[in-house]
Amino acid sequence: MTYLAKPKFHHPALPKNEHGFTHRDYEGSISTLCAGCGHDSISAAIIQACFELNIEPHRLAKLSGIGCSSKTPDYFLGQSHGFNSVHGRMPSVLTGANLANKQLIYLGVSGDGDSASIGLGQFMHCVRRSVNMLYVTENNGVYGLTKGQFSATADRGSTSKAGGTNNDSALDLVGLALQIGATFVARSFSGDKKQLVPLLMAGLSHPGPAFIDVVSPCVAFNNHAGSTKSFEFVRAHNEAVNRLDFMDAREPITVDYEPGTSTEVALHDGSKLRLAKLHGDYDPHNRIAAMNYLQSRAAAGELVTGLIYLDDNPRDMHSMLNTVDVPLNGLGEKELCPGSATLDKINASLR
């Protein structure tokens, strides 16, 4: 961490987005995490993604649980809504907030402990209910905040900094998300912003349950030889299936790929995803194949990153529940108390 607040001075020629903001306007307070923490890089990537997506800060709500990772929403989007819940309970709070106001963009930020240990049930139910959100886990394989105990995502056989070996099986959040109905599933690495930023942009734009697992080395407790979440290990075993470019609906297409090496995916808001194929005929639209591929690469000791699965026709909890479009706080007395005649009608329909 640093004790100094980041100076307000910024580069005079920083690009500005549609709202006249520079990326600096999407920052939060100064991070208190350890110097070099992968989580800080993810914060920087979120800042960049929101800046590039022209998100008005007050249109976004960031929610988190407990952990170093869950502290990070304090370090970005200082002008957005936020809620820091108890350990592992962010998914319920996010679901509730989303029910009350479907017009905001929901960003859930969590850790591997927060989501794969204490909050595993919450995570699964939130995804299977198809809450429209981007759920990000900052996955370092340890409980960073409580000084580096193995978490449920630590690989069997990996060692702790103190020398202990993890004998339990690892839980793969990406595999779970695929199984229970996430319609956008990706994995990335905090040390690769070129990959992470477009994934975050696509995930934030996805109108359904989007999940990104970001491997994020913990420099204090999990960046040693024997760790499978260290900078060196991830760089050596990273198996990117595609490289993607996020293209705003209005932007002219500037990236050129050789024919046959890329696919284009139209998103619901008119923007596009361009996927450069890096791996044979990997098809991110085939869920079963994605699950198989993931398992086979994992067995070979490799970590699949990139856009793993995308459902072009996502569902959203609201469409199934047939809720009102107006946020609840925008409903007046007349809508909320429609009078005894309406009540009689409802009662009659139930007889």
Binding site: Y3, P7, F9, H11, P12, L14, C34, D40, K193
Partner: protein, 598 residues
């Protein structure tokens, strides 16, 4: 692009914008930190070693450092962005120091037997004397004026530079006991050469004010004065008044001193009239501002045509109105506007349209070659003329400049004279003295204040014009008080505390990239500089001002590129780096002075 060689003393020196721009390469941030710490005497001595006249320069310097100062590039809002008040902080050191005489060098009793003649006792010669006397040289100082100081004494008005300040700093040098030949005009350089000196330094300045020949000049001569002659006469106390209505012709700093002096000697209606536009005037912006604050209008685009007189008594000046026109290449020319001529009435005119060199006393058969402008051929690095024993410096070398350039020339000439007299090649220059040391005191503790003050530049308080306009010797600027000085000093970014990168330690975690408030740092595949500049995290805005700092290839094969241009030296990169690959290290740079040999 090849990796940066940070061992080259010029690499980090250039990062310190102010010091790089200062002709004498004064270690500016070092003295500013000492001022903030209240160590005024120490701050003064750093200046004294580099620029010899801190009290004088802290009031009068042309301050080339300030337009170069990084602060002016990083503050928000191009219009309000202002450099650190480097010059006026120097004055704070001079004003608040204690008695520093016991820190000054002394001339050894045992001389080295070499005799050097110094012609002219302006800042250039005085600097040579200061550098050589402590080494045992005998220096013989000639000046036609009765006191030493050159134009600092004869030209710069006392309301900008009090006599006591000048005397103090000139006396520090006279205390080293040069042989004084004051009040003695040198009318033949040959005669000096014949006295058998081991080396001669010509520091006679550019003493001639340019004439303005036009109708009426001769007839009305009694009320038309050449600016620098008139200022000298005021300085010596020979001239004590001027007419009520005064026109000053010219737009340089001399014109500004002429008009402000006139206001103090009875000129109620003083006008400055310039040929060019207001913006193109040569005078420094602050000089113009000070003049206008004293109720002196500056009229522009008026070309003088004629002095009007009534039987030899000046009555006014006629001007042609012009306008600026630009050709396809953007070059400006002044063309008649077609409007009727303007007649401005006046009682006196001061002509301040330029200054020239004149060497009537230098014989042309001494082996000193002159060019087609009748200027001596002088090496800009060694200050040596084509006669290896004869050196030039200050305004005499390359035409009128300013005090700090005269000092810088003096230092280099002293180095050359010392090399020459000890049988060394003057072209092989001794290297500067540098030092690079970590400022780390604890995990996030540095020996300098790395917080960035958001304050705008502080204004130096002035004495009220009702008071200062009554006395030509009363200083206008009051100087910063200690509290203002501290706040102003805090604006300095400590550009000498360098970001030093150690590639092998870097794990490429991006923490430094993410934290850097100015987006200085990029990790990218290597390429030619032009391409690298395209790939930076933030646009490269001043490629000509600062370099890119490039590492060797890192573990992933990429390189670290840092654009030095807008770095705040806040140390956040080093605070965020988990491996200590970044460190903040103070770079001290002092030019080699006489006595340093290769």
């Amino acid at each position: 692009m090849p990796p940066t060689n940070i061992k080259d003393p010029n690499y980090f020196h250039k990062v310190v914008d102010c010091q790089w721009a200062c002709p004498a390469h004064t270690p500016v941030p070092e003295y500013i930190r000492l001022i903030a710490a209240g160590r005024y005497s120490d701050a003064y001595m750093i200046n004294w070693h580099s620029n010899v006249f801190p009290g004088v320069l802290g009031r009068t310097c042309d301050r080339p450092c300030e337009p170069a100062c990084r602060r002016g590039r990083v503050e928000e809002g191009a219009k309000t962005a202002q450099p650190v008040a480097i010059c006026r902080l120097k004055r704070v050191a001079a004003d608040n120091k204690s008695d520093i005489r016991d820190r000054l060098p002394v001339a050894p009793a045992q001389k080295n037997g070499k005799r050097i003649a110094l012609i002219g006792a302006g800042p250039a010669s005085l600097t040579v004397a200061r550098d050589l006397l402590p080494l045992g040289y005998t220096c013989v100082l000639y000046d036609q004026d009765p006191g030493a100081g050159g134009m600092m004494r004869t030209q710069i008005p006392k309301f900008r530079l009090p006599e006591a300040v000048l005397d103090e700093e000139v006396n520090y040098i006279l205390g080293l006991q040069p042989e004084l030949r004051l009040g003695q005009r040198v009318s033949s350089l040959k005669a000096i050469v014949d006295e058998g000196y081991d080396a001669i330094f010509v520091g006679c300045g550019a003493p001639r004010g340019r004439e303005l020949e036009m109708p009426g000049r001769k007839e009305a001569a009694a009320n038309i004065h050449i600016g620098i002659d008139w200022l000298a006469s005021v300085s010596f106390g020979h001239t004590t008044k001027i007419g009520k209505r005064v026109i000053v012709l010219g737009g340089g700093n001399t014109a500004m001193d002429c008009c402000r002096t006139s206001r103090r000697l009875g000129g109620d209606e003083v006008k400055v009239v310039v040929r060019s536009g207001f913006e193109e005037m040569k005078a420094s912006p602050w000089e113009k501002e000070d003049a206008m604050n004293e109720g002196i209008p500056i009229l522009n685009f008026l070309v003088p045509k004629e002095f009007r007189h009534d039987n030899g008594t000046l009555t006014g000046v006629v001007f042609e109105k012009v306008k600026a026109e630009y050709d396809a290449k953007g070059r400006r020319s002044l063309v008649a506007s077609g409007e009727p001529d303007v007649h401005i009435e006046c009682d006196d005119v001061l002509v301040a349209v330029g200054q020239e060199n004149a060497f009537p006393w230098i014989e042309r058969d001494l082996g000193i070659e002159f060019d087609r402008w009748d200027m001596p051929k002088v090496s800009a690095t060694t200050m040596q003329s084509t006669n290896p024993k004869i050196f030039f410096g200050g305004d005499a070398a390359f035409g009128p400049k300013n005090i700090i350039w005269a000092v810088a020339h003096g230092h280099e000439a002293a180095v050359s004279i010392d090399l020459h007299c000890s049988g060394n090649n003057v072209n092989v220059r001794p290297s500067p003295l540098t030092n690079l040391s970590s400022q780390k005191m604890g995990i996030h503790e540095w020996s300098y204040d790395n917080g960035i003050s958001p304050d705008n530049r502080y204004k130096v308080p002035h004495a009220p014009p009702e008071v200062t306009l009554k006395d030509v010797r009363l200083e206008v600027e009051l100087g910063f008080d200690v509290k203002q000085a501290f706040l102003e000093a805090e604006r300095c970014l400590n550009c000498d505390v360098q970001t030093v990168f150690e590639g092998p330690k870097c794990i490429e975690c991006d923490a430094c990239v993410d934290i850097c408030p100015m987006d200085c740092i990029t990790f990218t595949p290597n390429g030619p500089e032009r391409e690298l500049r395209q790939q930076l995290t933030a646009p490269s805005t001043h490629p000509e001002t600062q370099d890119l700092y490039l590492s060797e290839a890192l573990k992933t094969g990429r390189v670290m590129v840092k654009d030095e241009d807008l770095c705040l030296h806040c140390g956040l990169c080093a605070e965020r780096c988990p491996t200590g690959a970044w460190d903040m290290q103070k770079f001290l740079f002092n030019t080699a002075k006489a006595g340093c040999h290769v």
